[in-house]
């Protein structure tokens, strides 16, 4: 990568489990060009200054969700944040909050992946569909019901923005609950009852206290806080309905 014309100081959180007791910040001087993202700054450090630095990345265009990190304490995608916006000040890059640090900027995502699998993030049709039946058809209105919530890229910025998840990781968390809402709102799906047992629990929608910072930091405007909190009403109705109709699915 060609060197740029201006130099910015990047303070990067380092943690090498084989030698460091706890994380610390290491400062690098990065010569950058106006169009460089924070991710490019990190790549420059790895290529030219310190090959031991670890971080995740892939697509460089805000669609893979790999390069989520804390940039000046705000959860952001490294590829979507530009160094010029911080220059001439220095900037601080850390691993995503609320996740254990595996190494440097790489966090342990096992909890997120397990929870993602738990909500059955796929269509569960009422009856298995045969090939000759053709495709599932939907009206634009039916699509609109879930489209916004389907654009999640699993970057986990919302988890780094959610103090409830940080304080108690039993909470399913914003992104995955938004995805649960996405499948439950899909006209082709019939798996609602299977998913809502978790959704209606304290680990589900009720673990959210409407801090709503998740929706602010989401790079795809999914608005997880909206997905979660609009379910509380249905959840409350479901709770009271069981007194009238005990045959329901509520437990």
């Amino acid at each position: 990568m060609a060197e740029g014309t201006k130099t910015i100081e990047m303070e990067i959180l380092r943690y090498r489990p084989e030698q460091d007791k706890k994380p610390f910040y290491q400062t690098y001087a990065v010569a950058f060009d106006n169009d460089w993202s924070v991710l490019q700054g990190l790549q420059y450090i790895k290529d030219e200054l310190d090959s031991s630095l670890s971080f995740r990345w892939s697509c460089r265009m805000a669609i893979c969700g790999s390069c989520g990190m804390m940039i000046d304490d705000v959860p952001r995608l490294g590829c979507r944040t530009f160094l010029r916006n911080y220059y001439p000040n220095k900037l601080r890059v850390g691993a995503l909050e609320h996740f254990p640090i595996e190494r440097d900027l790489v966090v342990v995502v096992d909890d997120f992946i397990n929870k993602l699998e738990n909500i059955k993030p796929y269509l569960i049709p009422k009856q298995p569909r045969k090939l000759e039946q053709g495709e599932f058809l939907q009206t634009p209105e039916q699509l609109e019901k879930y489209r916004q919530f389907s654009t999640c890229i699993n970057c986990m910025l919302c988890y780094a923005a959610c103090p409830q998840y940080g304080l108690d990781s039993k909470f399913t968390g914003p992104g995955i609950l938004a995805l649960m809402h996405r499948y439950n709102s899909d006209s082709r799906d019939d798996g609602r009852d299977e998913r809502l047992e978790l959704g209606h629990s304290e680990q589900g929608f009720w673990g959210c206290t409407a801090v709503a910072y998740c929706s602010e930091v989401c790079p795809k405007s999914v608005d997880p806080a909206n997905a979660i909190n609009q379910n509380k009403m249905g959840s409350a109705v479901d709770y009271f309905l069981r007194f009238i109709s005990p045959q329901g699915t509520a437990k």
Partner: protein, 136 residues
Amino acid sequence: MSAPMDKRRPYTRSMAGWWKRDPYFIRYLAMEATSVLVAVYALILLIGLFRLSQGELAYNGWLGALKSPLSIGLHVLILLVFIYHTWSWFKVMPKTLPAFYLGGAKVRQSVITWAGVVVALVLNLLVLFILAGVKP
């Protein structure tokens, strides 16, 4: 051959002082804290109702206590807190509603918030108007 030693040692960061990390969290906690003074005001009104049930003398005592400088100061503080509480409450409101459409366009969340604020304002003015018409 022995099993390879696991070099993994994930580091979990402390959540102590988490609310100081971001101004957003401070605003969130301020929003939550306003509920305390809202409850205090409800308590003041309830005490008034209780004193009313005890007769005219008791009720006048309560009214007198409201006129003390300490009470007036507290009420000014409660008024300011109520204004922030109203604003933050309606700011959260669109998060609790499913999207709805007017004339084919999705209603923006800021419109919902401001609609709530305007309704609150109109209702408060209405109450003030009615109170102004009541002869003491």
